[in-house]
Amino acid sequence: MLKFTEEHEWLKIEGDVATVGITEHAAGQLGDLVFVELPEAGSSFAKGDSAATVESVKAASDVYCPLDGEIIEVNQAIVDDPSLVNSDPQGAAWFFKLKLADPSAANALLDEAAYKELVV
């Protein structure tokens, strides 16, 4: 199941684990990224908390935790090469895997059609 947030994160949900990244639209708006900071595996976040930071030449931006949960894995590849977020934001450049506290809460997020309408 693929879901989106109004803050331009995507979630690929398999069982009670969501793989989270930022959308192609967000990556395009941010421009070339030069730095990514990811949370530590094992840390827990509430929906809306700042879980990661991305920085372009010009500005730092927060990546929010899209649902309550615990970080179980992070993608070191985008820390080593932040430009991966620009080249493959909805594929290889996922940010973290989140064990959802309440998987059913994902139903309230945007589906792909609703998200696309938001960013037109």
Partner: protein, 400 residues
């Protein structure tokens, strides 16, 4: 001088940028090149009351690197172009009148030459920074967009008795910067190769009467070209047609000037900073310092000359973060890794594409201002190590 500063924006705030406030946009002024920016696919942002290009489709990183490798064109038409014409007809009278507002040797500025200057206030703070040119029968000033109305009033109040002060609203201003700038401009006007850094000349570019100065705000060799409004798009397009030239937005203008160690008014200098604190002593020539022919005689002279003699309590320095994380303007600087002993603040910071790493500048207490001093900046609750570093971060390539 002025560049773009977005500071730190959260993605929630960015959503507002993506869905701009239409009422706010309708109040923004346009430069004569506004339609050209849109046709080039620029992303526009409000800056100093103008709707300005922050970047073009290639993005800040490529625009920055292209300027250092070849040449870039910048629209700086939002800046104020001011003519100060002596009523007596004698340029010396205009120079001496302006010297009452700036701690700069204006009288000693030769015809066809330009120099950097500062408007100071009675407390020794900086009202604005500007460029001053001797154009033979008048002085030509370029001031920051955000300050230009206040500067104009300040000039009229200060010089109105002896000079006619006019803000030009019929000229665009375009900067051409980078190692290929001379070759590009030579194809339009061959005489440009004879100009030295800070020379100013009149020239016809394709029969358009322009004022060209060999200067800029990127640390690169280059030119600033004042163009009559009616011909601004035509001349700019001819520059852009050259294969070595790319249009450059405010985003790269800011990273270029930061690497070059140059101040952004409103961030790195303002009414709360003095020229000595800001490490701008070089902008105050000997004739205006203690013992000079025309020592003092500018607003705030008492404090500024005392700081020349005794040093200032704090100083603007370069700051080089040790890691990869950028340290942005506003970050607090500490002497220790626990954040107990505050010693300063970052005023500009970001990523330097040519340095290929984070760079910053800011003010630190004089005791911690020596090159190589290890300090710590607070970023998202952590204390990141950085070192006081000599400015500029990249070698300036001015043709002196």
């Amino acid at each position: 001088m002025s560049a773009f500063d977005a500071g730190s924006v959260s993605r929630r705030e960015m959503r507002q940028t993506w869905r701009p406030d239409l009422e706010e946009i309708s109040h923004l002024k346009h430069t004569p090149l506004h339609a050209l920016h849109l046709s080039l696919g620029a992303r526009m942002v409000p800056f100093a009351g103008y709707d300005m290009p922050v970047q073009y489709p290639d993005g800040v990183l490529k625009e920055h690197l292209h300027t250092r490798a070849a040449a870039g064109v910048f629209d700086v038409s939002h800046m104020g172009q001011v003519v100060v014409r002596p009523k007596s007809g004698r340029i010396e009278d205009a120079a001496l009148a302006l010297e009452k507002l700036v701690p700069v040797d204006v009288l000693g500025l030769a015809e066809g030459r330009q120099r950097y200057g500062l408007f100071t206030n009675n407390e020794g703070g900086i009202l604005d920074d500007l460029m001053i040119t001797n154009r033979g029968d008048h002085l030509f000033l370029v001031v920051n967009a955000a300050c230009k109305d206040a500067d104009f009033e300040h000039l009229k109040n200060g010089l109105g008795d002896t000079c006619d002060v006019t803000m030009l609203d019929d000229r665009a201003l375009v900067a051409l910067q980078g190692p290929r700038a001379e070759a590009v401009l030579c194809e339009l006007w061959a005489d440009v190769a004879a100009m030295r850094f800070m020379d100013v000349a009149e020239a016809d570019l394709h029969d358009v009467a322009c004022i060209i100065s060999r200067s800029g705000y990127t640390g690169e060799d280059g030119f600033e070209i004042s163009i009559p409004v009616d011909s601004a798009v035509d001349v700019t397009q001819r520059l852009l047609e050259h294969p070595d030239v790319m249009p450059i937005g405010l985003g790269a203008r800011d990273s270029l000037r930061l690497e070059a160690g140059l101040c952004l008014y409103g961030n790195d200098i303002d009414t709360g900073t003095t020229p000595v604190e800001a490490a701008l002593e070089w902008a105050i020539q000997k004739s205006r310092r203690a013992g000079g022919d025309r020592a003092g005689g500018f607003p705030g002279a008492e404090r500024i000359l005392a700081e020349f003699a005794n040093g200032a309590k704090r100083r603007r320095v370069g700051l080089k973060p040790e890691g990869r994380a950028p340290v942005r303007g506003g970050a607090k600087v500490f002497a220790d890794a626990e954040g107990n002993m505050a010693v300063g603040t970052v005023t500009s910071g970001g990523f330097g594409p040519s340095v290929d790493g984070p760079i910053a500048m800011g003010y630190v207490d004089a005791a911690h201002a020596g090159n190589g001093t290890k300090l710590f900046a607070e970023v998202r609750g952590k204390y990141l190590p950085l070192a006081v570093a000599a400015l500029p971060f990249v070698k300036q390539t001015y043709k002196r």
